[in-house]
Subunit: 427 residues, 2 copies
């Protein structure tokens, strides 16, 4: 069946407007490692999908999934050792202070649990988040999107400007002064919640501000904002759905940006495509949540989630993907950084393991964001067989976030294609 | 490792208070068809779990899952014909007026989508639900639990007393008058929302009021309440997470209770254990939602969900499970009904395909609910190798809801054990 026909059927069956990537959408039929294949057999290097972290169609994950589903897959109100072992193993990957785990089926659900935990534990309602974040799609979690950072805000949520040095909150400040300026905005947000009577329950943030465009964070901001939150009686929720699971070359983004959250949310890569997410915290936080909420999630905390989740951890370890993410990521980021001086439209390159942002701008003097260029570059790279996307506050940041099995050879292939695109633009 | 040790490790790893069934929890290690097996090899007839609808470890589902995960499992922003075909097939199982589908990973997520659809489509916020329902665990969906049915309520949600004939809202009314009395309470709830300024978006209800205890509904209530909701400008959301997918002997609970919802939520049995849920509605409702919300759910609407979802539908059809649910369910309910006159503690038996409620009471004169008896009966049946649970407004209703592959022979086995338990009580 022609791809156009599939798209028309899709408009009817899933509703028109269900998002598709690219001007001419790709019809993908097969995946293998870091590669995706379309219906015509054309191969693409996947540099976007973080979910299949140990590779598309990873055979160890397939086997674990099939064997467990053929043995037992049942809800969590019977004892099952596999589920317990997986929770222990996951907690063991965290620093001290993260001891117990609540499983769910999506990042959105895991953020819901985190917020409920924080509200129950603190007895307060108010939340703060950045002005350019996305944490999920339920009514509560979706309300953290596009909150802005005006100092006058109402309701139970306050936004603050995300910390960055490329387009800083105020010009001509030292790094220390800039850090202070951002901290002051967080303090204003917390104060506003307290004045409004909702009180302050938690600050939620991605540990590397992935959706904000992976900004360079003023030194010490993360540890200092954590101290500020704690002084004000709140908890810090780290959304590690994108930054966790070896993405940065460390297990957790919070290790990269050096702070200690109270609650950690993980999702996307945990199941290599099986819906699987988790909220982890100190035992007393989880116990309080369990006591108050009687939380149950039918298809979560199952033997299937546990078996697949452990196979993913096994594969990350066996293939040494932390090391791979650190080394391939650092080299690719370095190569791209060396292009900043060659092309005035590349404003900045920021890397964090196998997560790299390339800031596209119209003019290197005023750093005007160029979303159209990021989009057209993504289209051109697709035509050359490389799948990337774009994000950031202005949608002008090329987003490179491949499966963790992405190799040096893949990086070389990509750099060739990237250079062709950039040279083509200049021509 | 001893079961007690697993339980202690679980308290630490998952938080103490994570719910377990039975005074001495079962440690389940294997499933096969309608049977579950504990670590000592003891066999149980599963009469509780609706998720493994085509049987625990169903080999057709296992194969579909493994083959798809070994081929492709990727998010929904590329075209994939399997996902479209599954959505078409699901919509095709519904009556006219349900045309397009939004996939998600849990019933909670699917209810979130349904509510967002109704609110966007109507431009109003207010919701009504019964006073003894449960639709999920997010902040929004969880707020539909325990709303009560007082006529003075605030916020965006109003409860109404669920319709029933066993403990009717008012005594000594004809069925027609009782239906009117319940409808009047729904009208009060809608009016209260309108007066409060939130407006009325939707009524959400399980099509057979499963959590309410599967009540006998006054004739015509469901179609008349649907008409009332529509006259007031709202939409009817049918929660078919428990009542759908052949459970009642028909594809949908709304066919059994004879009304036409605007939005239908399905979940638990769709993936036989794979997290998979859906919200289906008229195309214009879904299109409006797509246009407004830009809804994306990373691990939903995937080739894996589609392949497993279609395998489950294939198996329901191949094994003629609608017929099985209707026939085995009717006979088992009939046999249990014949015990009402034999045991004064059995107040009522209500069946709806392979979903059967047995109302346990202290005294057949005033029908005082006996939750302790329902609990002890559930424990005794477990000791005899049969897994059931209990629910209802007073937790006194034995809940029988086996995988759809439950057979006449299983029913006979169960009736023997049930009679022994009842005779034991009298002794």
């Amino acid at each position: 069946m022609a791809t156009g026909t599939v798209q028309r059927r899709r408009d009817m069956a899933l509703g028109s407007g269900a998002e598709l990537f690219y001007d001419t959408p790709l019809e993908i039929v097969r995946g293998d490692g870091v590669y995706l294949y379309d219906r015509d057999g054309r191969r693409y290097v996947d540099m976007y999908n973080n979910v299949p972290c140990v590779g598309h169609a990873n055979p160890v994950v397939v086997r674990a999934m099939a064997e467990q589903q053929a043995t037992l897959n049942v809800h969590s109100r019977y004892l099952n050792e596999g589920v317990v072992t997986f929770a222990e193993r996951l907690a063991g990957l965290h620093h001290d202070g993260i001891e117990s785990v609540v499983f769910s089926c999506s990042g959105t659900e895991a953020v819901e649990v985190a917020i409920q935990m924080a509200r129950i534990f603190t007895g307060k309602r108010g939340l703060i988040c950045t002005d350019a974040t996305y944490h999920g799609n339920s009514e509560l979690v979706g309300s953290l999107t596009n909150v802005g950072h005006a100092t006058k805000q109402t309701g139970e949520i306050r936004g603050f400007p995300f910390p960055e040095r490329y387009r800083p909150l105020q010009e001509e400040l030292s790094e220390e002064e800039l850090c202070e300026a951002y901290l002051a905005r967080v303090a204003v947000a917390i104060e506003s919640l307290k004045t409004a009577g909702t009180g302050f329950a938690a600050l939620i943030m991605c540990s590397i501000f992935a959706n904000e465009g992976l900004p360079e964070i003023p030194s010490d901001f993360m540890s200092r904002v954590t101290d500020l939150v704690h002084r004000e009686g709140g908890l810090v929720i780290a959304d590690e759905v994108q930054s966790g699971y070896a993405r940065t070359g460390l297990w957790w983004g919070y290790e990269k940006t050096q702070f200690q959250p109270d609650i950690v949310v993980t999702g996307k890569p945990m199941g290599n495509g099986l819906p699987l997410a988790a909220t982890a915290a100190r035992r007393e936080v989880v116990d309080t949540f369990r006591a108050e909420m009687d939380y149950f999630n039918t298809c979560a905390s199952t033997p299937l989630q546990a078996a697949v989740g452990m196979a993913v951890l096994d594969e990350i370890e066996r293939m040494e993907l932390l090391k791979n993410a650190a080394e391939v990521g650092a080299r690719l980021a370095g190569e791209l950084e060396s292009r900043v001086d060659l092309h005035s439209v590349i404003g900045d390159v920021r890397g964090c393991g196998l997560f790299i942002s390339v800031e596209m701008i119209k003019n290197d003097a005023i750093r005007e964001p160029d979303a159209a260029l990021a989009n057209s570059l993504s289209e051109s790279l697709k035509d050359k067989g490389f799948l990337v996307s774009y994000s950031g506050r202005f949608n002008n940041v090329l987003k490179i976030r491949p499966p963790l099995v992405f190799s040096h050879a893949n990086a070389d292939e990509f750099l060739g294609a990237f250079d062709e695109c950039m040279d083509g633009m200049r021509a």
